[in-house]
Symmetry: C2
């Protein structure tokens, strides 16, 4: 009993909290330790700023809040205006939160109190930020851009107050090593992160299933979008991992179509690329289905059925290739090869496989990478620096893969257990893109324009799942129905 | 025919376009002229930057796009990365848009071409921005902060190129007069703007009605939120004017509650404050309804019914007061007086009316202003500078109205035809706010704690409509059912 008093008591009760409910907490402490290990640090202080709340310019409306993902990784805290410090030597993870405000409590928007934050987050201590407004404004810049660690002795007193301006960082240190270390950690997901991605996928699956069931009664992209978003919100997923894409017919051929406001008319296909977010973790799911008012759940044309079957074959083949040690680039190349082979079989492309392959003509139909890592970002870090986006059919065949993003690059490391990647092959009849290829001397000869014309109404088909790399292979985290199972749901709904 | 050639021909065809489809166009040209008139300018150039597209830090995900409202007012253009110039002397309104990009056409996100923009927007000419990247980055700063007009001769050549760095502005001119002039114009809505607000309200009404119809089958705030957002999206309203508030029981007492994720349990009331946006114009609608699983469409308690009836009486009285010449502050004072009178009648407050009034105790239950202008912003400009928000019960009775925002201030001009304001009285049993008053020597004696306790489960009630000031009175633009009509819809739905 002697020891259970004052500060010690609080420490003891904290440990108990962690042990009793800690299993459900985001493993922030383990992440901080992983990052320090990756940096090979035995002492020093890692400091990161969370996203600050802000208003739109000349407006009193808030910019939608989206937590900084590096801060998320180190805290699991999704509240604005916070900071985190990790004292490596002391193994002490501290969350700094804005002070309690009576006004906020009445008007709403009040974040956690210290006690609430201690209960919610897997951190050692929580403190109110008490630095002056002027210094707070300096802190994000300080934490993000000037220094990623400094000696704990430079934190004077219980608060940051007075220390911000006086801290000197080792001259050789910038924020870059910290960012790289967190990237390396983030690319391999732990059990907790996998469960969050699984939960996001599970809600997306409910929403995609709701679309299949409602489809016979829907007449526009906006209605599909509404069913999707409504289902996610009803299941407590307020945030989407990205802006949903709901494209019918030709709109399905615009990769990032987001207008989602046209009527189906007599269009043949509907592409929905939409994934919910759960506790800042993304899902990314694409389904393509037949539009057919007369015969719901059946493709209007053999051409649409052909293209769906081909993309389905590509996706299944690629997923089968996934296991530890696989090079993602090789899977991407495989996807392009199967796609090309299929397009030649259908007669849309013509000529010798090797000739067409070397010209890179398949990119007229499949202009993007096969997939990407997914986690705190929809397009998650790959452990490599993110190159600038670029996609041009004018690049020479020697540049065939040069415009692709990680993990579709030669530099990308082989897959390891804990990676989660999307596999999202597609075939698109995008008139603007096809025009460039049809006008090119290199490519024009490989097209059978008459056959191409017959297929152009298909618009676009993409199928996308999130795949976890496991110790011995892979697991598909996306449970939204596709293929024959999806068609059955539409048909059953139509028969009710 | 001699005159119909070259540049003249283009001008003629433009005029025809404006005449044929111009009636549906946002009246950008008229707005530009109004702004110049307000500035008493006969020459000079007004320049404004639209909102630039941007990504979240360390992410490839875009920050949700929200057009700058001053730019909206001068163009009606809701596309990113644009600029507008208005040459007052030449009466020439020019929209500057980002150049066409092949990549964007394939991937999506391509904005209008010059021809498309000319057809969509009520401007005299549309030009591609061809300034260098480096200069583009300077332009927003230049346009927004350094100068609001400069002499047209300083625009060299057909493009801005080369002129940005060299422009010198009259030393006395800053962006402030332009902003103030646009504010003065924005506060009086024209026919087109009124129709946009009416349309936003009409979609909100559909969504609020959908909630009433669905309510007997719903069990949580999230489900209500889902029905609301789904209905808006299905009717093509992708954007909300503000984050929807769906609060049950005690959550209805947190003014800006936005978690929207709790189950109803046995709570008595449901408050929904949610308004769709239409072409950047806001609606703002609040409805409060009974939660009652056993007897849908009926209040669970006399207390809840009392409070709803009182807020309804306040709202109806206030709306009746609205006409040209009315001071909004006097309506706000009227709302507080009727509220206080009602709270005294119910026995929640006690004492002499004047004593309680002078103490300002009514703000324990009604801590906010009665309403605000609405238009391009939910909390739209009032023609006055926007003060910083503050609300503290500690302010002395002499400061009774000092913490209120326009138009609930003495400085606010009288209402004129074309103003659109919200009328949103409310009564809240917010424990954090009430605690402050109950602990205050000034206020505590006016409370009957026993009666207050009986009412605390009511949570909160607010009723809000958007009211247009017309030439001879007012028109309620909000068509969402309320009061007895709303209860009837719930009862009918429950009986199906």
């Amino acid at each position: 009993m002697d020891q259970i008093c004052g500060h010690e008591l609080r420490s003891v009760s904290l440990k108990l909290t962690v042990e009793s409910s800690g299993i459900d907490k985001y493993p922030a402490k383990a992440h901080a330790q992983r990052v320090a290990d990756t940096l090979k640090l035995s002492e020093g202080l890692i400091a990161l700023a969370g996203k600050a709340s802000e208003l739109w310019q000349d407006s009193d409306m808030p910019v939608p809040f989206r937590q900084d993902r590096y801060f998320s990784y180190m805290t699991g805290c999704n509240e604005p205006d916070c900071y985190v410090t990790y004292d490596v030597g002391k193994d002490l993870l501290t969350l700094w939160i804005p002070p309690f405000s009576q006004k906020k409590a009445v008007w709403g928007g009040q974040g956690s109190t210290v006690q609430e934050a201690l209960e919610k987050y897997d951190v050692d201590e929580v403190r109110y930020i008490t630095v002056e407004k002027e210094q707070q404004r300096e802190m994000p810049y300080f934490c993000r851009h000037v220094s990623n660690w400094f000696r704990p002795s430079e934190l004077t007193g219980p608060h940051c107050k007075g220390s911000v301006g006086s801290v000197s960082c080792p001259e050789t240190v910038t924020a870059v090593p910290l960012k790289q270390a967190i990237d390396i950690c983030r690319v391999v997901k732990d059990e907790h992160e996998i469960e969050l991605i699984r939960k996001a996928n599970s809600i997306s699956a409910k929403a995609h299933t709701a679309i299949l069931k409602a489809l016979p009664g829907l007449t526009s992209e906006a209605e599909v979008h509404a069913v999707y978003v409504g289902t996610c919100i009803a299941h407590q997923a307020r945030e989407q991992a990205y802006q949903p894409i709901v494209g019918s017919g030709p709109n399905a051929a615009t990769l990032h179509y987001a207008t989602n406001n046209e009527s189906f008319g007599d269009r043949q296909t509907l592409l929905i690329d939409a994934g919910a977010e759960w506790n800042c973790y993304a899902s990314d799911v694409t389904r393509t289905m037949p539009l057919n008012a007369k015969n719901p759940g059946h493709w209007q044309s053999k051409e649409a059925e052909d293209i769906y079957a081909l993309v389905e074959e590509v996706q299944e083949s690629c997923i089968r290739m996934l296991k530890p040690g696989t090079s993602f680039l090789s899977v991407h190349i495989g996807a392009q090869a199967i796609t090309l082979s299929g397009l030649l079989s259908l007669g849309i492309l013509q000529g010798d496989f090797i000739d067409v392959w070397n010209a890179g003509t398949v990119r007229a139909f499949f202009p993007h990478g096969l997939g990407h890592h997914i986690g705190l970002e929809c397009h998650d870090v790959s452990g490599e620096p993110r190159p600038s986006q670029s996609s041009s059919p004018q690049s020479k065949s020697s540049d065939f893969f040069s415009n692709l993003q990680p993990p579709c690059t030669e530099a990308t490391p082989e897959l390891v257990p804990g990676n989660v990647v999307t596999i999202e092959p597609g075939i698109y009849f995008n008139s603007a893109n096809l025009k460039l290829y049809l006008e090119s001397q290199t490519h024009a000869k490989f097209f059978n324009k008459e056959v191409l014309e017959r297929y152009s109404d298909v618009g676009g088909v993409r199928i996308e799942d999130c795949i976890l790399i496991t110790k011995f292979g892979h697991e598909n985290l996306t449970t939204a129905p596709k293929g024959a199972a999806a068609l059955r749901i539409i048909r059953e709904a139509a028969s009710l």
